[in-house]
Subunit: 528 residues, 2 copies
């Protein structure tokens, strides 16, 4: 079937969807006689044992029927097929979009730059695994022949947020499971205090640095590289023996004797989609061992497979995307909160913030024409229960409705817990997330209006047994694919980021003192 | 003059303001001949050398004139006077609001609970300072007579976010200035992995814990206290010799031999406003020394003074608040991003998220009547330049306009820097913030619509020389007072948080297995 790229508001199914604004009361759905049945039946299996439950979303069979029509009319799954079979889906930059190939193969062989891309990614993973093994067993060591104990990722944006969030997500798990190999640290900001304070905390002689930049030209990353090289030299160490690169083969960092080793990605892996490439692979394999990284990839691959299903009730990423379209374009909610009840996921919302807002914060469609509907929402969040004592006040009683994405696990990672008042901390954590879902959905009337809760705040929950590497991979891929499906529905290009260019250009002008007018006046304020 | 509490939409000045929707183009204002003059003239001195510049906000003399009228009609400064003179401004909980008294005295003596409150707070600060000095010089030590080296704050919400953000903001400064005394860590989440991983990283025998809970009944905090006590006992240590409390005098933690010492606050200090009370005072005095905490208070006190000025152009917190009202209620922007160009302020946005969203995320006015206009916006943010490589795409080219609050400093904290391509990292950092302001305001047309920037994204910048304790205090107080003025304008009670209660109640029911219907069904999903 030929693929047709159309704006959302041209679709007959979207017009139908618009007529269903405000059609469902979650307070009613979750307080009536059939409420328990709804909760049990609105569960969709994901991968790695995760489940997506949408019982507290503002949908019913009718709305789900129209969402299924929309999925078909917009050819969302067919577009995903195009993508993984190697079409130039990133039209702006005229690039393939191949991050799925870093963890599996869903369709045909994809050849680009004269090579089979799946083989290329697998080969780089193998090279990284071998390198990590050598570092762990001391075959690769410092000048004194001593093992490296710490790995430091130097990168920004996608080379920082995703890998950092994944590292934090698995750090305690790896320590509990005995697979923890090396501590990882991260330097990202061009603020010199970032690099200075990380460097101060390091045992430089036993630190291995990973320079991550696809182009090899990222201002912040190169600046921080110099910062680190200065420190290494001052400590009498040879930077070329303490630094590896993760980059594209065409970058100045590739095949360069300044690095102990270099591992390659390519232009078909966007920064925010690069956690399953060498960008995440090097630091995670060094920190936790190559097997842990392989499990992480397996989880992502299994989740990708579910995204090929045309039945929206068997494709949780597609279903999540479609409900999000209903919330954004029909219910007109401007933001979404991501609320993981897991301290290990403390930076996962920051990663999703980039993934979602950088992918779908666009105003023109894939042909460069302005769209006449809203696209990506603001994404924010903090772990629960912490957030409950912070911004949840506004979520419960504020003047705007903000859809919520909960994440929770039945077991904790460390295996350490205490029983207080007949329950463990983990049970308390889970009891809180369940309580919040119901409080947000159903609210509660009170004679004192200040103590009344209007309810009707929709949420979904993704839950599983325990946050393992496989589960984390599935969780990551779920959101990547959700964002992709939404981009298809909005008919935008989710894989470029032209919005970051203007600021970069103007910053160069400021540094060159090539300014006048307001730009010069602002520069003067800060003594630049 | 008698104070009159009226809803925003009853004010004549607000109706005038509504007629000025979309009246100002920041792109025009910042690209015309008078642009440089505008940038220079839109600076308002704050305290501690900070400056608030609003040149890139969508205001002109006319709008500022109406905002001044609104300030007068709504008696915003007079209401602040009421507050600091000891009126029961927190009407819901029938409490005074006295956090300003922890750092200075703006008005009359305030007596409550039979004591002069300013004297009470000063006395507690003195007790904390003496205690900290004794810990630092070893007069208070562990059972082996060895000095404590690490301090661990156990608290959640306001007892965690503010103090943690302040600690991170000053950690590198204190190290550079030689006033760093003890490392601080934080345990907040009821997720057992939070406490377990912090405890694993500690040298327990040399750790001093601060239990922070005003009521002494916070579920998460008491659970984590037991967690810590278990660990201390297992290590053969006496918890009563390793733990202090910061609480109210009526709490079960007060005058309790289970704690080495207890320091007091009271019901007139809301959690999110407690960084300048003992809640921030104990951990910051132990980490950096009492003098550093005293400077922090001085900065806050100086900023509070500026908030008493009735001239909106000489009262930056009031001006910021009023422009925010225009953006929220007239321009209808649903969220605001806080973007500090300072890695030290990495958790400052999370603190402001609580401060703002928990204070002003309300739907009823101070008399319990629903308001018919929107109140507090969603607040989110990450440090620049990191955010530039993440969610800025949506800020520049997304379909919604999001007002921006930049923060920047001319000098860094550590004094360490590198020169690359003729500029330091600090200059690059500052060049980026300046470039972003202009890119957001003026945008740029391009033949390729995908590379076009519409501009008209309003922002303000707060800037100073260097982030010191005094500057941090001023910055904190600025936002506290801004949020307060907005709450006055919206005629809501910014000082209670009834929205957090329902979830707490339901969580207790879940833990007691006192559930049915959907609540039971959700509990079953998570095996509770």
């Amino acid at each position: 079937m030929a693929i047709s790229w159309e704006n959302l508001d041209t679709l007959a199914s979207f017009k139908k969807l618009q007529s269903l604004k405000g059609a469902v009361s979650v307070a009613k759905e979750l307080s009536g006689e059939k409420a328990a049945e709804r909760v049990a039946s609105c569960s969709v299996p994901m991968a790695a044992g995760l489940v997506y439950n949408y019982a507290a979303k503002q949908v019913d069979e009718k709305i789900l029927g129209v969402l299924a029509e929309l999925s078909q009319e917009a050819q969302l799954v067919e577009k995903f097929e195009e993508l993984y079979n190697g079409a130039v889906v990133n039209t702006g930059e005229k690039r393939l979009v191949l991050h799925q190939l870093t963890r599996g193969q869903l369709g045909k062989d994809v050849t680009a730059d004269g090579v089979n891309k799946r083989e290329f990614y697998i080969n780089e993973q193998k090279r990284i695994a071998e390198f990590a093994d050598k570092v762990h067993d001391g075959r690769i060591a410092n000048a004194a022949g001593e093992k490296f104990t710490t790995v430091v990722q130097i990168g920004i944006g996608g080379s920082d947020l995703g890998p950092r969030a994944m590292y934090l997500a698995l750090e305690n798990w790896a320590k509990a499971e005995g697979t923890f190999k090396m501590e990882a640290k991260f330097i990202s900001n061009v603020d010199p205090d970032d690099a200075a304070s990380v460097l101060k905390s390091l045992d430089l002689a036993h630190s291995l640095f990973i320079l991550v930049s696809k182009s090899g030209t990222t201002l912040e990353t190169l600046t921080n590289e110099s910062f680190v090289k200065d420190a290494l030299k001052k400590a009498g160490l040879n930077p070329a023996k303490h630094m590896i690169a993760v980059t594209s083969e065409t970058s100045p960092l590739a095949h360069n004797p300044d690095y102990l080793a270099a591992f390659y990605m390519d232009d078909y892996i966007g920064g925010r989609y690069s956690s399953t490439s060498g960008v995440g692979g090097a630091v995670l394999s060094l920190a936790f061992g190559p097997n842990v990284f392989a499990e992480f990839l397996d989880g992502a691959a299994a989740m990708d497979k579910t995204a090929t299903n045309k039945d929206i009730l068997k494709n949780p990423s597609l279903l999540d995307a479609l409900i999000g379209i209903y919330e954004r374009n029909v219910q007109e909610y401007p933001s979404t909160a991501v609320l993981p009840y897991s301290q290990a996921l403390s930076r996962f919302p920051a990663h999703l913030q980039q993934l979602d807002m950088e992918s779908n914060g666009k105003s023109v469609n894939r042909f460069g024409k302005p769209v006449s509907y809203v696209t990506g929402p603001v994404i924010f969040g903090e772990p629960g229960t912490n957030g409950q004592h912070s911004f949840y006040q506004l979520l419960h009683q504020g003047t705007n409705i903000i859809p919520l994405q909960f994440i929770a696990f039945k077991e904790n990672q460390t295996g350490t817990d205490v029983v207080i008042e007949d329950s463990t901390s983990q049970k308390k954590l889970c009891a809180n997330v369940v309580a919040q879902i119901m409080a947000f959905a159903c609210g509660k009337k009170d004679d004192d209006p200040n103590k009344s809760f209007a309810g009707e705040r929709p949420s979904s929950i993704i839950y599983g047994d325990r946050l393992t590497p496989k589960v984390l991979g599935a969780l990551l891929a779920h959101f990547e694919n959700k964002v992709m499906f939404q981009g298809f529905a909005w008919n935008i290009n989710s894989f470029d980021q032209e919005g970051v260019q203007l600021g970069k250009k103007l910053a160069k002008k400021v540094l060159a003192h090539d300014t006048d007018g307001a730009l010069k006046a602002y520069s003067d304020l800060l003594n630049i």
